[in-house]
């Protein structure tokens, strides 16, 4: 694997319209007004809402007697603080219950579509948007959640915002924004067996570092991206924030259009050609430039796994944990703290580290293809005696499909627990937590200190690596389980 970084000047010839990349085209198409020296008034096409980051925004509007501007450009569900156990309707935590009730009531009051338990469409907000077909190319999409970049897989400019900004969009349908810088990331080459989209994005984050793309929106390009399914593209775009990028997106193509066609919110057959023509018009001009360009070669990439307490502290499973002396001096203190927390030794192999928990799920890797990959590896095997494994589908639709394919039976036969949809163990704010001092191999997106519960230790990896490690009881690659 190699990473090159270079910058390129503008290549537009004089007297021609300036060449624009997809990010600039979407930006320009949503610019309502920009006064000299002020941030832009920027139009938002769709805002997704969940229970944790919305109540205070509704309260702000109510206090100021401001109505919701356009409820038809909103979509809400519950995912973060809900239980995933069988009787999930009963939320024992009083505060979490109040949060869910508040969103339910706010949606009812303002006429906002709400995807409740057992609607058939409840799920992690970034899983259900694409499933419903509301996520479409050229759109601007926001949510009070940093993994909103997931929707970028469809060629939408999608980014996370805070609760105050959720209020601004509720009130006006717009945000004040500064124009982002642009970065082109090209994934070259083909995956080896056992290596997946998750490994590609972890490799990029490992190279750029956790703040390496701050201030930028990334466009992911290259043959490897073109060859990916929509679900794989979502995994890549999902983790853009983990290298600091405001958003990450992929230009729409036939794969994108085929995915959207026929979904609930897809354009009708009658309007389809016009829709595709409009979506296609957002693709960047040939030879358009970017503020930064990076190339990642996937040809020799091995499965990735994190060793530390941020997603940038990642390595190939065949490598050893870095020695402190090999780390740049300004990052040594961070690395040392991470090693203390994860109870690992510098220079030691990452392969073979004993794990206690395994988690398949989250907006990064909780879709049907992820569950299929994990089931394919677990089939005919048992999860190691000392490992507890949770498989949590990203949505009710994913759950239903998994059951239809019998994947739930495969997980159960292997000794894993198949649960109801939600964010679950990704962020330790519902009942699903990794106990203190326990080590979890996880298909989620963050390995921060205590992320999966106070004192929990997280190793991020692909669903395949998670499944293989669950069987082995230690960090392990999936190649020997792939038929």
């Amino acid at each position: 694997m190699s990473v090159k970084s270079e910058s390129k000047g503008s290549t537009a010839a004089p007297n021609q319209k300036p060449l624009k990349n997809i990010i600039e085209k979407i930006w320009d198409a949503h610019l309502v007004k920009q006064k000299e020296g002020h941030p832009a008034v920027f139009a938002i096409d769709l805002m997704l809402l969940h229970e944790v980051t919305s109540a205070q925004a509704f309260e702000n509007l109510a206090e100021r007697k401001i109505p919701v501007a356009d409820p038809q450009r909103l979509l809400a569900t519950i995912d973060h603080s809900i239980p995933t156990r069988p009787n999930r309707h009963e939320i024992y935590d009083e505060a979490a219950r109040a949060q869910v009730d508040a969103l339910r009531q706010n949606c009812k009051k303002h006429g906002i579509p709400f995807h409740d338990f057992d609607s058939g469409t409840q799920g992690i907000v970034h899983v259900i948007g694409p499933e419903l077909g509301v996520t479409q190319p050229g759109m601007t999409i926001v949510c009070g959640d940093s993994h909103t970049s997931t929707h970028g897989a469809f060629g939408a400019l999608a980014f996370g915002i805070g609760t105050s900004e959720v209020g601004h969009v509720l009130a006006t349908g717009c945000l004040l924004q500064e124009k982002p810088k642009t970065m082109k990331v090209t994934f070259k080459g083909k995956f080896l067996p056992g290596v997946y989209a998750k490994d590609a994005i972890l490799a990029l984050i490992g190279q750029l570092g956790i703040g390496g793309a701050t201030g930028h929106v990334i466009e992911y390009c290259g043959d490897a991206i073109k060859a990916m399914s929509m679900e794989e593209r979502m995994t890549v775009c999902n983790m853009s924030i983990e290298c600091g990028a405001r958003a990450g997106l992929i230009s729409p193509d036939e794969t994108t259009y085929a995915y959207i066609k026929g979904r609930k919110f897809a354009p009708s057959d009658k309007d389809w050609a016009k829709a595709v023509e409009t979506w296609q018009s957002f693709c960047g001009d040939r030879d358009a430039s970017y503020d930064r360009e990076v190339v990642v070669d996937l040809d020799l990439l091995a499965p990735m796994v994190t060793w530390g307490t941020n997603p940038g502290q990642a390595l190939q499973i065949s490598e050893n944990i870095p020695s402190l002396r090999d780390i740049a001096p300004e990052h040594q203190a961070t690395a040392q703290r991470a090693l203390e927390y994860t109870q690992l030794r510098e220079g030691a192999p990452i392969r073979g580290v004993k794990v206690d928990w395994a988690f398949i799920g989250s907006c990064t890797n909780g879709r049907i293809e992820d569950l299929r990959i994990a089931a394919n590896i677990l089939k005919g095997h048992r999860v190691a005696e000392h490992v507890t494994m949770y498989v949590v589908p990203g949505s009710e639709a994913v759950m239903k499909q998994a059951q239809k394919e019998g994947l739930d039976k495969v997980f159960e036969a292997a000794g894993a627990v198949f649960r109801n949809p939600g964010c679950s163990m990704c962020l330790g704010m519902n009942d699903d937590k990794v106990p203190s001092g326990k080590r979890c191999i996880s298909s989620s997106n963050r390995n921060f200190v205590g992320r999966q519960g106070p004192g929990s230790i997280t190793h991020l990896a692909s669903p395949a690596t998670v499944a293989a490690s669950a069987i082995a009881g230690e960090i392990s690659s999936s190649d020997k389980y792939l038929g």
């Binding site: 309502v32 139009a43 944790v52 980051t53 603080s81 805070g162 354009p267 200190v449």
Partner: protein, 202 residues
């Protein structure tokens, strides 16, 4: 949002890179529908681990200024991180760089983030270990003053400065463009006539 006033305060040093918002306020404390009540758990993990962590110490009880390192506030978009810091009395954070969403959230809540050159921040981090160390931050004149009489000008975006000094949030500003927004939507809905967002609305 409160108006930002000139502040003279002790400085809390936090010499750690890449401080994420999970570390500032763990998700387990986010099951609330209020903007208040987070301060008691700000940096909960670090406070539980280390009795000498500044937010555990009496001498920093009234401190309003923090000095941090690179990429402060990365990770989750949770505004609760800003509410927790603000609730704990922090009004200014000086650092080498800040994550995008955290910076945006801070500006919407009257929390001033100052990006200063790395050498200056390193010096501040070293000096701030001395508990008598006090700085004055004057946004109006864009100056930070130090106890030895030195002062340092800083850059700050004019629009955001105006909002902070006058306690303005973005809603009124955006609403002053109501006509332009309406025109924009009319044109857009024509171009995007294929969209079924409205037709499918319950």
């Amino acid at each position: 949002m409160d108006k930002f006033k000139t502040i003279s305060s002790k400085v809390i040093p936090l010499p750690m890179k890449d401080v994420d918002t999970d570390l500032i306020i763990p998700a387990q404390f986010m099951t609330s529908i209020s903007r208040d009540g987070y301060a008691q758990n700000v940096f909960r993990r670090l406070r539980d681990k280390d009795p000498q962590f500044p937010f555990n110490l009496e001498k920093y009880k009234d401190a309003q200024v923090m000095v941090v390192d690179d990429n402060f506030g990365c990770g989750s978009s949770r505004e609760h991180a800003v509410w927790a810091l603000y609730g704990a009395g922090i009004r200014v954070i000086i650092g080498k760089s800040f994550a995008d969403i955290f910076a945006s959230n801070a500006s919407k809540n009257g929390l001033l983030l100052l990006t200063l050159p790395a050498m200056v921040v390193d010096r501040l981090l070293a000096d701030a270990k001395n508990e008598e160390y006090t700085v004055t931050v004057d946004l109006e004149n864009q100056v930070v003053s130090f106890p030895d009489g030195r002062s340092l000008g800083f850059e700050y975006e004019a629009f955001r400065k105006h909002c902070l000094l006058h306690g303005l949030d973005d809603i009124d500003y955006i609403r002053s463009f109501d006509k332009e927004i309406e025109q924009f939507r009319k044109k857009q809905e024509k171009e995007w006539a294929f969209s079924t967002l409205r037709a499918n609305h319950p």
